[in-house]
């Protein structure tokens, strides 16, 4: 994924802007879903959730990159590197969203990382499953459209990445979306990997 910094940094913002622009056109009488254009805003609880999930995305980025480093097959390494790059886009986009909502991006220090290839993949899948569940819960529960749109977009990528991992691990041929997970529960599950997490 090398389409440049502008694309990476602006990906989520562009997606949101597209949504707002295309859905909120006042002179488009065929518009089915109306969204009044406005500056991004969200309740404080959702901003806190986004800050917490930003750390989870940073954790994923670190783990995809670590799994790529540990991989012995060039094909597997390339696949893992591509997903690490996607996670980098997530991190940057969420960071921008958090800042645009008036929040701050919290520091992240990764914990111990498995170095055995198979263990790294299994550990990564556990983390992906947890984070995807959190995004699914967020997509259902967020009130603000901006955060809901972000959660839904990120959920889609996490599900696809679960499929990538299942393929590499030789498990399920059809990725199944994990059950929704409260963000607090997800943070507890990921606690040992996350380090210090912002609390409300």
């Amino acid at each position: 994924v090398t389409s440049g910094k502008v694309t990476r940094r602006g990906a989520l913002a562009a997606a949101l802007a597209t949504t707002l622009a295309s859905c909120g056109s006042a002179d488009d009488t065929s518009t089915l879903i109306s969204l009044p254009p406005r500056a991004p805003q969200a309740p404080g609880s959702e901003l806190l959730s986004m800050r917490q999930l930003l750390l989870a995305e940073r954790l994923q980025q670190a783990r995809w990159a670590a799994a790529a480093t540990a991989a012995t097959s060039p094909r597997v390494r390339r696949a893992l590197e591509r997903e690490a790059a996607v996670e980098e886009q997530h991190v940057q986009a969420i960071e921008e969203l958090v800042i645009s909502l008036g929040g701050t991006a919290d520091p992240f220090t990764p914990g111990p990382i498995p170095v055995q290839p198979a263990a790294a993949l299994r550990d990564l899948r556990r983390i992906e499953q947890t984070v995807a569940g959190a995004w699914r819960g967020a997509a259902s529960g967020f009130v603000a459209r901006e955060t809901r749109a972000a959660a839904l977009s990120l959920l889609g990528t996490e599900i696809r990445q679960l499929g990538v991992l299942d393929t590499l691990l030789g498990t399920s041929p059809l990725p199944v979306a994990p059950p929704p997970l409260a963000i607090d529960d997800a943070i507890v599950r990921l606690g040992p990997d996350l380090g210090t997490v912002p609390r409300g």
Binding site: V1, S3, R8, A11, L12, A15, T18, T19, S22, C23, S30, T31, L32, I33, S34, L35, R82, E83, V86, Q89, H90, A93, R136, A139, S140, G141, F142, V143, R145, R148, A149, L152, S153, L154, L155, G156, T157, I159, R160, G163, V164, T167, P173, L174, P175, V176, A177, P180
Partner: protein
């Protein structure tokens, strides 16, 4: 390649209605413990015009997808593709049952569903059509999720449907062996913008 012919849909089957009824009855039984049941209040307010349109769009999309998965040229599909089509078809039927239950609960009377008549020469053409439709469906469902006016009423049921579609899209891409860089984000679109694709999925490159 044939343009999908439309003809009136048959009346909803008793079996499907019964299945939904049983599912709801099972759900009710599962939550019938007094301490929990007292806290549950199922919203049955009529949908707003915006939400009615959104739910009607999803009903149309699920009907189309069922038709597509039923139209798979089974004898020309690899075993892995056949297994996926079977699993995906079951998911889509469950989605439609969910939407029909929601529509009944909220007085939504969607357009009469179309019945499509597809023809596919082989697996690649079939998968490409599936990929195109899934991409459109996900974008449109994204618009629905973002724009729904009563999120607390609908999203617990609708988001799982979108998640299933995302999972299906990822498998279709794998079956096509698509080697394009993975997209990082879903791009939600208003349903009106992608409805033409759903109206005639094969005529736009299937």
């Amino acid at each position: 390649m044939r343009t999908p012919a439309r003809r009136p849909a048959p009346a909803p089957g008793v079996t499907r209605a019964t299945a939904v009824g049983l599912a709801l009855a099972g759900l009710a039984a599962a939550v019938a413990r007094p301490s929990i049941a007292a806290a549950i209040s199922v919203n049955t307010d009529p949908a707003t015009p915006n939400d009615r349109t959104a739910l009607g769009f999803m009903h149309l999309a699920e009907t189309l997808q069922i038709a597509l998965y039923e139209a798979g040229p089974a004898s020309r599909l690899r075993p892995a593709t056949r297994r996926f089509v079977t699993a995906a078809l079951a998911q889509e039927r469950a989605h439609l049952a969910t939407l029909e239950a929601i529509n009944r609960r909220h007085a939504v009377d969607p357009d009469r569903p179309s019945v499509y008549d597809f023809a596919f020469a082989g697996e690649t053409q079939y998968l490409r059509t599936l990929a195109r439709v899934e991409a459109a469906v996900i974008a449109g469902y994204g618009g629905v999720i973002v724009g729904i006016e009563a999120p607390s009423v609908y999203l617990a049921d609708l988001v799982p449907i979108v998640a299933d579609e995302m999972a299906q899209a990822s498998v279709i891409a794998a079956l096509l062996d698509a080697d394009s860089p993975p997209a990082a984000f879903t791009d939600p679109r208003p349903p009106a913008a992608i409805k033409p694709i759903l109206d005639d999925p094969q005529s736009v490159g299937g």
